[in-house]
């Protein structure tokens, strides 16, 4: 007799490895009572090297489908747009004046938590789709998000996002596929191999960093973030389910009996990735931007902490619903 049902096993399969890694980070945080570990160094390594390599590595080996990119990227945009007025409404009701309050509600943590789950639950195809969603999320965060907290748009900063250039290069490499002469082809292969090795560092370091951050959380500070985090964790997937069914109705992700099963699998995976990402708590970058522009960082930190802890329950629940109704 099996103690765990097959359905539960599918969910556990997707989240358990990430929890193991986050636990390592948490353990390290507990052991590092003097806080000697500099998270900024780790974040810089991930931000400037590991993540761009992961993005490039994932995109350039896969044939690029502009329609797929538009649908998934478009979903990220729509979800951000849908959540924005709701977030501002909650901000007004909470009598908060700073715009930084809405950042962890509108935007999602599509890197630390979503990417490993996407990889483990939906394979490399799922990872590639999750990266597309992630790119759109961070592009809007670095443009509109920066505008919200600083009052001005800094396009130069936006243009300096390494992952953005990695996306452009990855898509260019995937679509152009030039016939390179002998030695240049060898050099290209060697550089790609280096990029692949660097890419492997992204996911574990992101999760460990998250776990380390959580080790410092005090329960007394969580109350302030309850409303915003709940909206993010519950409202996000609800909106995403609605969006996915909308996509089906207008034919962007059709459900046609007798369709090629592999094509159908591609559509269903895209839908699952959209809902998974929408179920994510707020991004750590939202907190860092609030700190940078001194725009209610404490409330943002509280929302992130509540959201990440709450995600332990809501993310598996969302995945269960995805398994039952989407896949």
């Amino acid at each position: 007799m099996n103690l765990i049902s097959n359905e539960m096993l599918i969910i556990i399969r997707a989240v358990l490895p990430s929890f193991v890694i986050a636990f390592f980070g948490l353990l390290l945080g507990k052991l590092d009572s003097k806080r000697e570990i500099n998270q900024k160094t780790i974040s810089n390594i991930v931000y400037y090297f590991f993540t761009p390599c992961l993005v490039f590595s994932s995109l350039h080996k896969r044939s690029f489908d502009f329609q797929e990119f538009a649908v998934i990227g478009g979903a990220a945009l729509i979800l951000i747009a849908m959540m924005t007025p709701v977030a501002f409404f909650v901000k007004r009701r909470a009598a908060v004046h700073e715009n930084g309050y809405v950042l962890p509600i509108i935007f999602m943590n599509t890197g630390n938590i979503s990417l490993p789950i996407a990889l483990l639950m939906f394979g490399n195809d799922g990872l590639a789709k999750a990266i597309m969603f992630h790119m759109m999320n961070i592009m809007v965060l670095y443009s509109y998000g920066v505008y919200l907290v600083s009052g001005k748009t800094d396009l130069m900063q936006f243009a300096k996002i390494p992952a953005l250039w990695a996306t452009v290069l990855g898509v260019t490499a995937a679509t152009s596929n030039p016939a390179l002469p002998g030695i240049i082809s060898d050099v290209y292969d060697i550089v790609n191999k280096g990029i692949d090795v660097l890419a492997q560092g992204a996911i574990p370091v992101l999760i460990i960093n998250l776990g380390y951050s959580m080790s410092d959380t005090k329960l007394s500070t969580l109350k302030a973030g309850l409303t915003g985090a709940s909206l993010r964790l519950l409202g996000g997937p609800l909106m995403a389910f609605g969006l996915v069914y909308g996509y089906r109705m207008i034919g962007w992700m059709p459900v046609i009996p007798g369709m090629d099963p592999l094509v159908a699998l591609g559509y269903r995976t895209s839908e699952a990735i959209i809902i998974l990402n929408a179920a994510m708590p707020g991004p750590i970058m939202a907190y860092l931007l609030n700190v940078k522009f001194d725009n209610c960082p404490a409330k943002a930190a509280s929302m992130l902490a509540v959201g990440t802890l709450g995600g332990i329950v809501t993310i598996p629940l969302t995945l269960t619903l995805v398994t039952r109704y989407i896949l």
Binding site: R13, I21, N38, I45, V197
Partner: protein, 329 residues
């Protein structure tokens, strides 16, 4: 000269360079990050690698590897012979009559077995190479906590070795591999999921280990090389030569059999052990020497700089030798 290179085909050389050059690229990135950061946060990287990434890599490699006490013994004995040989050679070459035992001795004896060797071994020799590299590093670590500490402070610190996460995870890996009881399907699947998390972390350790090695090198200046030519050359030239003597000794005594037999994989396993010993001994100086010896003097910095720069040339030569004379059919 032509015959020398003809023994390794262009394809083999290409495959070798495809593994080695990306590691050098990542090392340069590590140096760049160190420069940018003024290498202020070495502790961050050390703690990450020592407490999480390297132990996970060790567990991941060991628990998939068939437990063979003879193999562990032969790697351990080889490491001991290499370290003792290097200590003797370095002592007589670098002995400073005024100061007695120079800190430069440490930099010549100790190789970067925990940061550069595992990623190189994995990329070049696969999972088997990685497992052997982990055992190699284990024995170097034992030497580090005993003879190394004694060289610096006059006292060995073997107890600290038993507290290292690396040691515990290797024991755990061996235990997991040889677990005698059958598990139910679901419990087994759960254990494989735990293992998957560790494996993801282990793969993430490869770039991080290289970056953590390159990070402190960002502080070194070209002028530092002046004091370290002899020490650096000893590390990367004498090291593999001593290892070669050990390999020859093993072949003569039959410890690494040359009998091809029906099981060609058994034969290849011995050759991989030999290759790993040569590669391990060819590694440049360990950046941890700077931590062990306190504020590194000019000679130590020079030795590290010269050995790292020189290793960009000597490691491919050692790998070429391995392809031509160790792996050749």
């Amino acid at each position: 000269m032509e015959h020398f290179f003809a023994l390794a085909t262009p394809l083999e050389i290409r495959m070798m360079l495809r593994g080695f050059i990306p590691i050098v690229m990542i090392l340069i990135i590590g140096i760049f990050i160190g420069r940018w950061d003024n290498s202020k946060h070495q502790q961050t990287l050390n703690k990450l690698t020592d407490y999480i990434f390297l132990p996970c890599l060790a567990f991941s490699a060991i628990h998939k590897h068939a437990f063979d006490p003879v193999e562990i013994f032969s790697i351990g004995a080889a490491v001991l012979m290499i370290m003792v040989g290097m200590t003797v050679v370095s002592f007589f070459t670098l002995r400073d009559k005024v100061r007695g035992c120079s800190g430069n001795l440490l930099a010549s004896v100790y190789m970067s077995s925990g940061s550069l060797l595992p990623p190189l071994a994995f990329v070049l020799f696969g999972y088997e190479g990685l497992a052997k590299a982990i055992y190699f590093h284990l024995f170097v670590t034992i030497f580090y906590y005993t003879a190394g500490r004694w060289m610096v402070s006059g006292r060995a610190d073997f107890k600290s070795f038993f507290k290292t996460p690396l040691f515990h995870l290797i024991i755990l890996g061996i235990a997991a591999r040889n677990f005698p009881f059958s598990l139910s399907d679901n419990i087994q699947e759960l254990s494989w999921l735990l293992e998957k998390g560790i494996h993801l972390t282990a793969m993430g350790s490869l770039p991080l280990l290289i970056i953590s090695f390159g990070y402190p090198l960002g502080l070194l200046k070209r002028s530092d090389a002046n004091g370290g030519f002899v020490g650096g050359a000893l590390r990367i030239v004498a090291g593999p030569l001593v290892a070669l003597l050990v390999v020859c000794l093993y072949r003569m005594t039959g410890l690494t059999s040359m009998e091809r037999g029906y099981d060609v994989l058994g034969y290849l396993d011995y050759r991989t052990t030999e290759a790993l010993l040569l590669l391990g001994a060819a590694m440049p100086s360990s950046h941890r020497v700077i931590c062990l010896a306190g504020d590194a003097g000019k000679a130590e910095r020079g030795t590290i700089l010269v050995s790292v720069t020189g290793a960009v040339i000597t490691i491919p030569i050692v790998l070429l030798y391995i392809l031509m004379y160790i792996f050749e059919e």
